[in-house]
């Protein structure tokens, strides 16, 4: 049986009291052994829906599930694990078992590990077959489902918007026999992969090597994905020649975290190649630098809001 750590935050005193006494009753009946823990070690958050937003945001970034406790005045939130206060033991047991099922079904997740590459790693394994008909699913920390299959990723529009903004941390995908709602908004799987890479941890992705030089074999479609000038620079540099991650950080003058996320995004989207693994582009390498050129280009770059 798996042991799971749970942390309660922001509950009213009577709710908190009920929760702790019920946990004792649940022991031995639940699919998991539940231990109360501090928030930094917890696998699951047990929180009042009225709770402090910054706690939710910090928890959200961990990709772990949350059980929301609402009071009798609140309307039902769009989250998978919800209890209305006051709740019975059997209701608590049922929710905890659902959470235990979810966590058991995602063996790839690195619980308590701050590196959080679980979604990206599972995506890496799934991308080559992402065009297949079988669906895989994962959840956001708030329990919204994200589906991968048929070359697409389907999720609620608001979930996709948060992903595009780099605000979402996802758990690993796992196979499912069910399908997403047919009308769920979709984006291309490779676009999704790009966003997952950009919202990953600051350090170099575990599947990339510090001593290998990488270059772009193709540009991402920034018209579709959105762009900032930093990324344009990194792309331009990485099509001219291959760079080790450290050399790219050095030459671009950009924060290592940004460069690492760019590399993770490009590799997940299938745009990055290790130098030598493919023929370098033969074309367009004619140099033609003149005096005055650098100064002029500098002026133009400033005009366009690019670093000079």
């Amino acid at each position: 049986m798996q042991t799971l750590k749970i942390c309660d935050v922001g509950l009213q005193p009577d709710t908190s009291h009920a929760f702790h006494s019920m946990l004792k009753i649940v022991a031995g009946r639940s699919k998991a052994a539940w231990q109360v823990a501090g928030i930094e070690h917890a696998d699951v958050l047990f929180a009042s829906s009225e709770g402090d937003g910054s706690t939710f945001a910090a928890w959200g970034a961990t990709g772990k599930p949350v059980v929301l406790v609402i009071d009798d005045r609140s309307s039902w939130p769009p989250a998978p694990f919800v209890l209305r206060h006051p709740f019975r033991v059997m209701q608590l047991l049922s929710v905890l078992d659902d959470v235990a099922d979810l966590l058991a079904a995602s063996p790839g997740r690195e619980r308590g590990d701050p590196s959080r590459w679980s979604a990206a790693e599972s995506l890496r394994a799934l991308m080559p077959q992402s065009g297949n008909a079988a669906w895989h699913v994962t959840r956001t920390p708030l329990g919204e489902e994200v589906w991968l299959g048929h070359g697409l990723v389907r999720a609620a529009a608001r979930t996709i918007a948060r992903l595009r903004a780099g605000e979402l941390e996802l758990a690993a995908f796992h196979p499912t026999g069910t399908s997403p709602p047919a009308d769920a908004p979709a984006i291309a799987a490779c676009d999704f992969a790009w966003y997952v890479g950009l919202s990953g941890p600051a350090r170099l992705a575990p599947w990339l090597f510090a001593d290998v030089a990488y270059r772009l074999r193709r540009w991402p479609d920034f018209g579709r994905l959105g762009v900032n000038t930093g990324m344009l620079e990194l792309c331009a540099m990485s099509t001219v020649r291959a760079w080790t991650p450290a050399a790219l950080v050095e030459a671009s003058g950009q924060p290592a975290a940004d460069v690492h996320r760019f590399l993770a995004a490009a590799s997940l989207a299938g745009l990055l190649v290790a130098n030598g693994s493919e023929q370098a582009p033969a074309l367009l390498a004619r140099g033609r630098v003149q005096s005055g050129w650098d100064r002029f280009l500098g002026g133009l770059r400033r005009h366009l809001g690019l670093a000079a």
Binding site: G223, L283, L284
Partner: protein, 187 residues
């Protein structure tokens, strides 16, 4: 020669009829651009009322007073002589395409072939409009077409009626120019 000293830094917008060259230059040029549009009498080729037969000309002035010239070419192959005149000495070329037009992928080849001889520093950027039209090829299809020819150039979906999209094309071009200057392999 890119002729920076001669004040000839120019970016050329090209691509087939109706791709949006005139629209793009008007979107980012300071002041009214020079246009040479006349009535389009070939409504089979394109339903729009007017078409460029000379060139479009706009400009962007930088803080230090130097000027970037923006030229738009005619789109029809019969104006090929104009493509060569305008392409000569270009610092960079932006090829615009309408994904919903028949033969858009072939048009990419036509314009890449025509302008590659003028492009140094890898300064080629492709902007594709109307990729959201049902059955229109995606930007990936255009990029694959370039891959097949060993060309690594950005293919960006754009709506050239939006100034921000056109500026993204120009920024991308300038980033490429900067990278080739700073990090490129010398000839």
């Amino acid at each position: 020669m890119s002729g920076v000293e001669a004040g000839e830094f120019k970016i050329v917008f090209t691509g087939p009829m109706g791709a949006g060259k005139t629209t793009a230059i008007a979107a980012i040029s300071e002041g009214e651009p020079v246009r040479t549009e006349v009535e389009n009498t070939d409504r089979v080729a394109h339903a729009k009322e007017s078409t460029t037969v000379g060139f479009d000309f706009g400009r962007i002035t930088l803080a230090d007073g130097s000027v970037v010239r923006l030229y738009g070419t005619p789109g029809q192959v019969r104006y090929r002589f104009m493509w060569d005149i305008l392409g000569r000495g270009a610092a960079g070329v932006i090829v615009l395409l309408d994904a919903s037009a028949p033969g858009a992928l072939v048009q990419l080849d036509v314009f890449v072939d025509a302008f590659i001889p003028h492009v140094a520093h890898g300064a080629l950027v492709v902007g594709v409009g109307r990729t959201d039209v049902p059955n229109a090829p995606s930007t990936d299809a255009f990029a694959a077409r370039l891959d097949a020819r060993g060309i690594v150039a950005p293919v960006l979906s754009v709506d050239v009626r939006r100034q921000g999209d056109v500026m993204m094309l120009v920024r991308t071009l300038v980033c490429i120019l900067g990278s080739h200057t700073a990090h490129g392999v010398p000839a």
